[in-house]
């Protein structure tokens, strides 16, 4: 492994690029299912541009990150260590988790917060295959009527919603595209 891949691929202008990336991430989480573009990072494979940009924008030494087997490579570990400084931890301790949906299973391992502090829950950054064709209809906060979405699974997100206000929150990434799926969203199979 070349050291170059570890040291490169961060934000060129961190304050401005992180600000733009956060706004896209905020719009994504606030309007579930609507595709936003996340650019700025050039992370090593298999991290997508969107997932890498989310890590740079939200993670640092105070946020334990879990790498699912699909993403637990030396290159990814080195890149996160250099650019974010985030400790890599088991699923149960993670504030953020990155990986393909099947590699993140079982998702019931992740923190869902407590009744007193529902914010102490994990955010899953899920690498998916694509945003189409839709297989689910989303309703709930952030959605005026309903919104179609392509999800890797239906039942797990329905179970997550059932525990509201506890639960994990998800970003689904493909290349530079991202959609948000907070625990508040009601998912129905299409």
């Amino acid at each position: 492994m070349s050291q170059d891949h570890v040291l490169t691929g961060g934000f060129a202008a961190p304050p401005q690029e992180a600000a733009r990336a956060f706004r896209a991430a905020l719009e994504a989480m606030a309007r579930p299912g609507r595709v936003q573009m996340l650019r700025g990072a050039e992370p090593p494979e298999p991290l997508s541009v969107a997932a890498g940009t989310l890590l740079l924008t939200l993670c640092d030494t105070t946020t334990p990150v879990h790498l699912a087997p699909s993403h637990d490579t030396a290159a990814v570990r080195g890149w996160i260590a250099f650019h974010c400084g985030a400790p890599v931890v088991p699923a149960e301790e993670a504030a953020f988790a990155v990986g393909r949906w099947d590699a993140l299973q079982p998702v019931t391992r992740f923190a869902i917060g407590t009744a007193d502090y529902p914010d102490r829950s994990a955010t899953l950054i899920v690498e998916t295959e694509g945003m189409a064709p839709p297989n689910a209809t989303l309703t709930g906060p952030g959605i005026e009527l309903s919104h179609p979405a392509r999800l890797p699974e239906i039942a797990a997100f329905q179970a997550n919603r059932a525990g509201f206000p506890l639960g994990f929150d998800c970003y689904l990434c493909v290349g530079p595209e991202v959609i948000g799926l907070p625990r508040s969203t009601i998912v129905e199979a299409l």
Partner: protein
């Protein structure tokens, strides 16, 4: 011109990440107050340190910022916060509601409907709606966890018993998505109906109390009331003396020491826009050409 002695938008990057994570969790659990490590800002508590930190975490170089204080663009608090971000973030500023992408507000929602793509940031003095009923944070946190909101209804009932109606006129409590009771900050209850179903993202920052909470767009927000005493969004029963509007929220201004008074829109941009369009009120007759 951006002041190069500061990081973009004043706060350091690690602080902004911490605030951004709190905002995202607030969006995911609408109405829940997310604790955050509020920083000291170069202004006193009570002047919008919470709102300023949320705004700093949200601003991009392309944003156009509007700041209002009780609806007005030209008061000390609004002018100084606008100048603060013009200096530290180099963002464009405006007084026009429709042109702003980020609006920081103290105690009002603009009269003009907000749109998708806009963010409304509230300055919040006391985020806990139950605080004056139960001073212990450990207890109010448990009450939120258990949805134990009976005490709030008792308070509203006591209003009715004492005054014949719900006398709470501002900071009127709301229930968000049927789950959390939330303090909408001290906006007049006239503004409460605008909280729900709004197209813009609403973020609430309380600096001294170290809490951030949020309402995603199109969220269900219901003002607490009783079947036989329904919520009423009240305003002064007058028209604006400057622009003649009968639907806007009004400030009452004492004009001399003999009891004379006038009413004018609290939203200065709305009022000026109407006057520019030719509307006139009692005290602003047609200008003589």
């Amino acid at each position: 011109m951006t002041d190069q002695a500061y990081n973009f938008a004043y706060l350091d990057e690690q602080t902004k990440r911490m605030i951004r994570r709190a905002i995202l969790k607030g969006i995911a659990v609408p109405g829940y107050q997310v604790p955050f490590a509020s920083r000291e800002m170069p202004m006193p508590y009570g002047w919008g340190t919470g709102g300023v930190q949320v705004t700093a975490a949200c601003l991009t170089p392309e944003d156009v910022l509007k700041v209002i204080d009780q609806g007005a663009d030209d008061t000390t608090n609004a002018v100084s916060i606008r100048a603060f971000f013009a200096r530290t973030a180099g963002v464009a500023t405006t007084e026009a509601t429709a042109q702003a992408s980020v609006i920081q507000t103290r105690h009002r929602i603009p009269e003009a409907p907000l749109t998708e793509g806009q963010i409304l940031v509230y300055q919040v003095p006391i985020p806990e709606p139950l605080r004056f009923l139960e001073p212990r944070e450990s207890e109010t946190r448990r009450m939120h966890a258990l949805e134990d909101y009976g005490l709030m209804h008792v308070k509203l009932y006591e209003d009715i018993a004492r005054h014949g109606e719900i006398a709470t006129a501002y900071a009127y409590p709301v229930k968000v998505e049927g789950r959390y009771v939330m303090d909408p900050s001290p906006i007049p209850k006239f503004d409460n109906p605008k909280l729900g179903g709004m197209a813009a993202i609403q973020l609430f920052g309380a600096g001294r109390e170290q809490r951030i909470y949020a309402l995603p767009p199109y969220t269900r927000v219901v003002s607490l009331d009783f079947e036989d005493h329904p919520f009423v969004a009240s305003k002064a029963d007058h028209a604006c003396d400057l622009c003649g509007s009968e639907v806007s929220y009004l400030d009452e201004v004492i004009t001399d020491d003999r009891g004379s008074r006038m009413f004018c829109c609290s939203d200065t941009d709305y009022c000026a826009g109407r006057r520019d369009a030719g509307h006139r009120g009692r005290l602003s007759p047609e200008e003589v050409a």
